[in-house]
Amino acid sequence: MVANHSTNQTPMEPPVSRLTGYRWRIVGVILLLCLGLVLAPAIINNMFFLHVMIMVFLFGGLGEAWNVIGGYAGQVSLGHTIFFGIGAYSSVMCFKLWGITPWIGGLIIGGAIAALVAALIGLPSFRLTGIFFTITSIALGETARILFLNWKWVGGSIGLELPILGTSWAAMQFRSKVPYYYITLGFTVFSALVVYILSRCRIGYYLRSLKEDEEAARSLGIDTRRYKLIAVMISAYLTAMGGALYAQYLRYIDPNVVISYSISIRICLVVICGGVATVLGPVLGSALLISLAEYSRALMGGGGRGVDLLVYGLLLMIVVVFKPGGIIRIGQKRTPTGKRVSV
């Protein structure tokens, strides 16, 4: 009632113009950042810097993918490594067996397989809510890892190695890191665009509504299971793309590298810490967390002894307690309704 009263008193004009001004400023900052990122490799020719940026872009894009199902639809999945692994394995297997270029084998076939698997897993899993969905996704990820470890056709625990062909766009292999830099940058921008479009069309609103109150959403005639399925399929497709790019970058994959619980954790944490259900949150989270992880690993030498995950865990607790909306919401006022923003 109080909120209604105050909105009635203030005229409509100022808030709207302030909002557009704010938005223009954001657009300007993003454009400047993009320009800087595009030019960066020409100025800073440091291998390690490029590696860090590639990982930041990769996990930024993966975070955007996770954001569709985990952020907007509120289904916290800790099994996204399945889709990541499917992308990586499809890309490498297609190239090794049939010579299909990773651009198709990974980014299209891998994505399609991952989306199909996501639908098959999602059909029963979406009957579960909250913690049970999360535990089930962990169990599914672990099962997938063990099955791949013992699946001889895809190399089992030995893994798969890509033949080294030097620089070739068709095989998505390069001696220099710069092309990978631009490819992963493109992946992040593409994922962010998908999320931006989704968040502004009907399905984005459906997902947000079912996250807030699934019963209420269903009573308004939203087929919540259908939209959750669509969301997880989009999310899986994008995640598989990331997996394929990672495989091309590493040129070697095995189940413990691409289907591991720690990949699921990283994908999820990037979004939670950056800002759930926002377009820029995952990218911001990735820029902070992944660069922190890579630099701390370099600093501590070799093992690193999990110091990055140590910091992630601490950060996650702090964010959940003090800024449940993620770091991107620091400095932002509360939502107009005055309600807390749910994670």
Partner: protein, 298 residues
């Protein structure tokens, strides 16, 4: 002659089966104890504690260091470990859980999840990734039970876990505080109206849950490798045990743990050791999709 050979084989096969079943029950009792703590916390405050496995790891390291540094046998330091873990759980509740308990369920998942990552990697950071083992403690050597050879450490761990589960059950059933815990788990609002300080119940319950995990860790440190990642193995099994037994049902979690232990050993002896986790997860999927309230509920 052939006949006696046949019976010899038969006896060996029966012995193997008995050994597998007994071993399964003993391992299962440990899962039961971890799962009972998990289920108790979930029942009382509706929160699944992801850090339960790490509490167990903490218990393992405490008893390992007590033995290595001061020569205190794990069975002697057991009570101290339980008390330390109770205090840790109590403090964690006061510092972290209390702030998210009223928030959205996802915040609760993420808070304990963050705690779990934090503790696991803290152990890795402080103590390194080495596999450590206690040798020559009081509980070593082998014995025979019902004609089946067994390691004393496993026997003590299994029986000890079962005993602690029984004590937990008796505590909930017969003490005044236990009844208050049960009342809170049944209906929080009514319990508050009856004058029960439900916030304190929460804190103590969280401490008890952590102590259960700590005791399990101390008991298995006699024969299991101590390393930072060991918690994830046990937490997965405890999740499955909790789901099989029905969430929030401590007795159910106990039997769920036994079932999982027996299945694990049967699968690794008669099917293939690498397939034991897929089989257990398969059972988990079956239960959660077909009987989400647990197999003991009609």
């Amino acid at each position: 002659m052939r006949r006696s050979q046949g019976t010899g084989k038969e006896v060996a096969r029966l012995n193997l089966l008995a050994e597998t079943l007994l071993g399964g029950v003993l391992v299962g009792a440990i899962y039961s104890l971890v799962a009972a703590g998990l289920s108790l916390i979930r029942g009382v405050m509706g929160l699944v504690n992801f850090a339960q496995g790490e509490f167990m790891v903490l218990g393992m390291y405490l008893s390992y260091w007590a033995y290595t540094l001061w020569g205190v046998d794990p069975l002697v330091s057991l009570l101290a470990v339980a008390l330390v873990l109770f205090a840790v759980g109590f403090l964690v509740y006061q510092i972290l859980i209390e702030r998210v308990i009223v928030g959205p369920p996802i915040a609760q998942i993420l808070a304990t999840f963050g705690l779990s990552i934090f503790l696991a990697n803290l152990a890795l950071f402080v103590w390194g990734p080495e596999y450590r083992a206690i040798s020559g403690s009081m509980a070593s050597g082998t014995t025979t039970l019902l004609g089946v050879p067994l390691s004393v450490a496993k026997l003590i761990a299994g029986l000890g876990s079962a005993l602690v589960c029984a004590l937990l059950y008796a505590f909930l059933k017969y003490t005044r505080f236990g009844k208050a815990v049960q009342a809170t788990s049944m209906n929080r609002t009514s319990a508050t109206l009856m004058g029960i300080n439900t916030n304190r119940i929460n804190a103590v319950t969280f401490g008890i849950g952590a102590a259960c995990a700590g005791i399990a860790g101390a008991l298995i440190s006699n024969f299991y490798y101590v390393y930072p990642g060991v918690g994830s193995v046990f937490i997965n099994m405890a999740f499955v045990a909790m789901i099989i037994g029905g969430v929030g049902n401590v007795v159910g979690a106990f039997f769920g743990g036994l079932i999982i232990g027996v299945i694990e050993l049967l699968a690794s002896v008669y099917v293939d050791p690498v397939l034991k986790y897929p089989i257990i997860f398969g059972i988990y999927f079956l239960v959660i999709f077909c009987k989400p309230k647990g197999v003991f509920v009609r």
